[in-house]
């Protein structure tokens, strides 16, 4: 995987891309298995940051609406 694609996968998981860039990345995720693996690897690297967040109970109406 070229470094530029690796970085792009990282920026996608990070959430910094604009709407048009995101659509292009989503197409690559569907069509390029190597790129999809790069995205999964970035997810693996960054998602532990979510451990910093304490849960917030959603309003009961949210469940009712589902």
């Amino acid at each position: 995987m070229p470094e530029v694609s690796e970085d792009l996968a990282g920026e996608f998981v990070l959430g910094a891309l604009e709407a048009n860039e995101r659509s292009a990345v989503e197409r690559r995720i569907r069509n390029e298995p190597d790129f999809r693996r790069a995205v999964d690897a970035w997810s693996h690297r960054l998602m532990p940051l979510l451990e910093r967040m304490s849960p917030v109970i959603p309003p009961a109406s949210t469940w009712a609406a589902i």
Binding site: E3, G10, A16, E18, S43, R52, T62, I66
Partner: protein, 181 residues
Amino acid sequence: MLTQPEELLLELLRATVLGDQIASAELYRITSGKLYAIASRMLRRADTASDALQEAYVRIWTQSGDYDVDKGQPIHWMAAIVRHVCIDMLRRTASQPLPSPDLQEIEEVVPPHDIVSVDVDRCLRRLDATQSKAILMAFYFGLSHAELAQVFAVPLGTMKSTIRRAVARLKECLDPDDVNA
């Protein structure tokens, strides 16, 4: 949330694939606090956060068959879905007031671990201040390059290279054995 046995979430996801509604409801009960925290942080509005959560759970249930352990922990896969929904909503709607790049404020919202047990936290500390703040703001608030440039009052190109360098350094720090890093 992440300390819960991952096996339980895995079992609930698998039961959801088979159409078990009790399992789907249980999955919601034990994970919605975490996912709602993510959505409310990103969208910064309770009503849209609730909409995002609804959309995310519908996707989680319908896509539960796509989950496999290669995609990471079940909660991370679910979190990726809610983040995806939120970022799409953020990019569609007119800009909200942007959060400030004050590290103290960011860390009030998402305190770092006292004990640096998470690799990514350890690696973030090796970045320079702007890099790590920009990474945290993109990750927790879903800010785009352009929004980050505005928040940090720098040109867009500068912000893009800041992020790109930060991403490359994070990868280098997290995968030290990778000769290509």
